[in-house]
């Protein structure tokens, strides 16, 4: 089983590994301690103390707060509420629903017809980072991308309590 040092995982997170290095990682067996190393690196990088339980995206984490609650948190510190609720409900949204708005991102003809689908951009209310983009028709419910079973993951798969 390969084992990677902290520096290598940091480089991976930062996109600093070359393609041949990434390819070698892909072709090798997986390093079983990756999750713990990865989370520790992310924990060291944030300015707050809450414990990261699971990374959800480039800027989002499920964290455990001192009072025991588990919330979705942005690395800027903004909290989106209980992780069992869709964090997007607490976000800001911008809808690209006209050709003019779509053509800020795509050349004419190379975007969807807003009558068929629109783009829904979700921003963090504090740092304004674009966290997700949905391409759905008008009227589609907000998509809850991922609802992890944290208890099963820690207890059954990692063999420890959260």
């Amino acid at each position: 089983m390969p084992e990677y040092d902290k520096e290598t995982i940091e480089k991976l997170i930062d996109g600093k590994l070359s393609w041949p290095e990434v390819k070698r990682m892909m072709s090798s067996f997986k390093d079983p301690d990756r999750f713990d190393k990865y989370v520790q690196i992310l924990q060291d990088r944030v300015d707050w103390e809450d414990k990261i339980l699971l990374p959800l995206g480039l800027h989002l984490y499920i964290v455990q707060k001192a009072d025991g609650s588990r919330v979705v948190k942005c690395d800027c510190g903004f909290e989106f509420g209980d992780y069992r609720d869709n964090w997007k409900l607490q976000a800001l949204i911008y809808v690209r629903d006209t050709e003019e708005k779509m053509q800020e991102i795509y050349p004419p003809m190379m975007h969807a017809d807003p009558e068929w689908v629109v783009l829904r951009e979700y921003y963090c209310p504090r740092c304004k980072t674009q966290l997700e983009v949905e391409a759905t028709p008008r009227g589609y419910p907000i998509i809850f991308d991922f609802q992890p079973d944290l208890e099963a993951f820690y207890r059954e798969w990692l063999g420890r309590e959260i």
């Binding site: 991976l12 997170i13 996109g15 393609w19 990434v22 990682m25 892909m26 997986k30 990756r34 999750f35 990865y38 699971l54 990374p55 959800l56 995206g57 480039l58 409900l89 607490q90 976000a91 800001l92 949204i93 911008y94 991102i105 050349p107 004419p108 003809m109 190379m110 975007h111 969807a112 017809d113 009558e115 068929w116 689908v117 783009l119 921003y123 740092c127 304004k128 980072t129 674009q130 966290l131 997700e132 983009v133 391409a135 759905t136 028709p137 008008r138 009227g139 589609y140 419910p141 907000i142 998509i143 991308d145 991922f146 609802q147 992890p148 079973d149 099963a152 993951f153 059954e156 798969w157």
Partner: protein
């Protein structure tokens, strides 16, 4: 699975000696296998992998010999075939199956078929082919019917049973993607058929030969049934030759290892495949529920040549839910999918399995040990009467990939969320690109012969962005990881088109911190054909390759063909002519060519006539983006600008990058000005965006007023009517009355 001739299990003619193991018929073997799996959860109830554990080296050697035999069959067979799709792009695959039809090992190639050929073999067993038409040494069978077991009709399968001392030891199976399937419109992903009776040549798991020779009547039937009989014939010989090579390889293994060991080996290999898959799920993912949705456009309203009930605009709903259980359970559901329809995009369960396995073999199990064990480790729900399981016999399936390709970007995005959370960033991907436009047509080729055309250039599209690197440009196809764009010279030899240019197409990739792989473009002149019809087939009105983690979708398609083009006149006069269309906002084709420009979003249409010297434009898509574009490294933006991946004016509006050209014409991004601009864009986001709760209130009003396009309202109503669960979710999310339906008034 359809069963046309139901009979009691085990019914045999008097004096007949069954060909299964231990005196069983094949049907008894299949039923016993299924019963033991249902009772124990293990393949054939195997508890211990005794062969593997006692003598692992021997076990691995047998596997290597079998896999080597399959890969050898593929590589050799590919080079005796002249069909460009097969030879140039490797559109073939071979596999070995147990007597009851479970795959043990596969070659490289279109690994879509881990399970599709399994379905076809099981169909033959369930319909008692053992009794009629009999399964004997030297027999050859063939199938291309997705409702029996296939991805789409142009994937033609050949099966050869392999015997040892009177018992069926297994099946060799081979599949090639043929050039034309004789459908109501030409090509191999025909968009014209609106019922299965127009899908073209039907091989319904037929016996097509014996004593290792194809039946003459079968060959005549196929020659008369397809537009490209020469390619058909060569492909069929490829499949038969490959299957016979596999038979030889299997016989040699049995000679060396003994029949009892081989029998034990094939069952253990499948049980090992099942256990390995569960192990990989637990190793790579996170238990929980993942949801991703994609939408598919069929803009056929007013299409000449189709009846009114088929000539409608349809928006299809492809909701993909993946549930990973605490014990590594892996369940995929398409509950809420749109109704099947009068078009050729319908996908029977076997086709759905084809898409699942071509993706899982490139993500979860990218190794040589792929077989039906992994299939047994997963469960699926493909709701009846939907695009994901049409049930009805008349549903056309010729272009099933038109739904499969967009629908399964949801699987990739869901897996990526698990991989990302686990820290395996090197495996994370945004949506792969659509393998579109499908440039398709037919009529007479440049030699005056009848032809069907589909340029398989579309095998090279962008991959999705990765979470540590950009996607790979014009790389491969989701359905063939070994795909490439093929040589221009070969395409010009076999299809009546001349290339005016082939180059990178800017802005095809989905923007993001890491962008998707870019697509490319080809511009052709119709060349020396006196009788040809052409069509476009692809996305245009939706974003079927969405981004992830803040990345944008890849660009949507459009059409730009020119009828009555003045190209020949320009050649004669030595005037400039178009070679590409980098920016449809400033179209080179429009500037450098006069004629009737079909420059629109009709990206899916019925074939229409084109003439020598007309212009056909085909551009191939990019992959979805990953991450907020404002976080993209300026050095990567410079590279994109200097390599025609990005049109200069979009550096600012997408990435907030302030770029200028230096004295040598190279683009350079001003880091300081870019940082300032990005801060301004973030501030601007705060001004233009609204809280989601406010958006929900406004959107609910829109729903209640029905202020949504008719095709979208129809889509919602179909899903509400076909799935109570999905309907309840939709209505409860928006707090709508229990009997809510959208009005379908114009």
């Amino acid at each position: 699975m359809a069963t046309f001739l139901p009979k009691e299990a085990g019914e045999t003619e008097k004096g007949y000696k069954p060909i299964g193991w231990d005196g069983m018929t094949l049907r008894e073997m299949l039923e016993t296998s299924e019963r033991l799996f249902a009772e124990t959860g293990r393949y054939w109830g195997i508890e211990e992998l005794t062969l593997k554990e006692k003598d692992p080296i021997r076990y691995e050697k047998i596997f290597a010999k079998l896999r080597g035999g399959l890969v050898n069959a593929r590589e050799t067979a590919m080079n005796i075939s002249a069909s460009p799709i097969v030879q140039e792009l490797g559109e073939l695959c071979f596999a070995f199956y147990t007597p009851e039809g479970d795959s043990v090992a596969l070659s490289t190639g279109i690994i879509v078929h881990v399970h599709t050929m399994s379905d076809a073999i099981k169909f033959m067993i369930r319909n008692d082919y053992e009794l009629n038409p009999r399964i004997r040494p030297g027999d050859i069978f063939s199938n291309n019917k997705p409702s029996i077991g296939d991805a789409h009709n142009a994937d033609v399968q050949t099966f050869v049973p392999i015997f040892w001392e009177g018992e069926l030891i297994g099946w060799a199976g081979g599949v090639t993607h043929v050039t034309d399937i004789g459908a109501s419109t030409p090509g191999n992903v025909p968009v014209g058929p609106i019922s299965s009776y127009e899908d073209g040549l039907d091989l319904t798991a037929n016996k097509v030969g014996e004593n290792d020779i194809l039946y003459q009547d079968h060959e005549i039937r196929c020659e008369m049934g397809v537009r490209t009989p020469m390619f058909w014939k060569l492909d069929e010989r490829t499949r038969v030759a490959g299957c016979h090579m596999i038979r030889y390889a299997v016989e040699r293994i049995i000679q060396g290892e003994g029949i009892d060991t081989f029998k034990r080996f094939i069952r253990e290999a499948i049980e090992e495949g099942r256990r390995s898959f569960i192990h990989r799920v637990k190793e790579l993912l996170i238990p929980g529920k993942y949801f991703a949705v994609t939408f598919v456009d069929l803009p056929l309203e007013g299409e000449m040549g189709l009846p009114d009930y088929a000539a409608v605009d349809r928006l299809s709903h492809a909701p993909h839910e993946l549930t990973i259980g605490p014990n590594g359970e892996f369940h995929i559901s398409f509950d809420g999918a749109s109704k099947w329809g009068y078009h050729s995009f319908n996908c029977p369960p076997s086709a759905m399995q084809g898409a699942i396995w071509v993706l899982l073999t490139q993500t979860m199990i990218p190794n040589d040990k792929v077989n039906d064990g992994a299939y047994l480790a997963t469960t699926h729900f493909f709701p009846p009467y939907t695009l994901a399981n049409p049930v009805v016999k008349e549903a056309a399936t010729g272009a099933a990939w038109g739904f499969l390709i967009p629908a399964f970007t949801g699987l990739i995005r869901s897996l990526s969320r698990g991989l990302f959370a686990r820290g395996y960033l090197e495996e994370v991907l945004s949506s792969y690109a659509m393998t579109m436009n499908a440039m398709q047509g037919g009529g007479k080729d440049q030699y005056g012969r009848e032809t069907g055309i589909l340029s398989f250039e579309l095998s090279a599209v962008g991959t999705g962005a990765r979470s540590v690197l950009d996607g790979v440009d014009y790389a491969a196809a989701m359905w063939n990881p070994e795909g490439n764009m093929g040589d221009i010279e070969v395409w010009e030899l076999v299809i009546p088109l001349m290339y005016l240019g082939r180059s990178v197409k800017p802005n095809t990739a989905g923007p993001g911190k890491y962008r998707g792989g870019s697509g490319f473009q080809s511009l052709y002149a119709i060349w020396k054909s006196l009788d040809i019809v052409m069509q476009n087939a692809g996305d245009g009105n939706v974003f079927p390759a969405p981004g992830i983690f803040g990345g944008y979708p890849a660009a949507a398609g459009y059409r730009h063909n020119v009828l009555g083009a003045d190209l020949l006149k320009r050649f004669e006069e030595g005037r400039e002519y178009p070679t590409k269309e980098n920016d449809p906002g400033d179209s080179e084709i429009s500037r450098l060519c006069e004629g009737k420009h079909l420059f629109d979003k009709r990206t899916l249409n019925y074939p229409y006539r084109m003439n020598h010297g007309d212009i056909y434009y085909s551009w191939y898509r990019g992959g979805g983006g990953l991450g907020d574009p404002l976080e993209r490294d300026p050095a990567l933006i410079e590279e994109d600008l200097n390599n025609d991946i990005l049109l200069p004016r979009y550096a600012l509006s997408i990435y907030g990058a302030v770029a200028r050209q230096d004295e040598n014409g190279r683009w350079v991004v001003d880091r300081e000005a870019t940082e300032k601009k990005r801060a301004e864009i973030r501030e601007e986001r705060g001004r233009i965006a609204i809280p989601v709760f406010q958006f929900l209130t406004e959107e609910r009003e829109r729903i209640l007023k029905g202020d949504i396009a008719l095709k979208v309202r129809r889509m919602y109503n179909e899903s509400i009517e076909l799935s109570t669960e999905w309907g309840n979710w939709f209505k409860s999310f928006w707090n709508l009355p229990p009997d809510f339906r959208f009005s379908e008034d114009e």
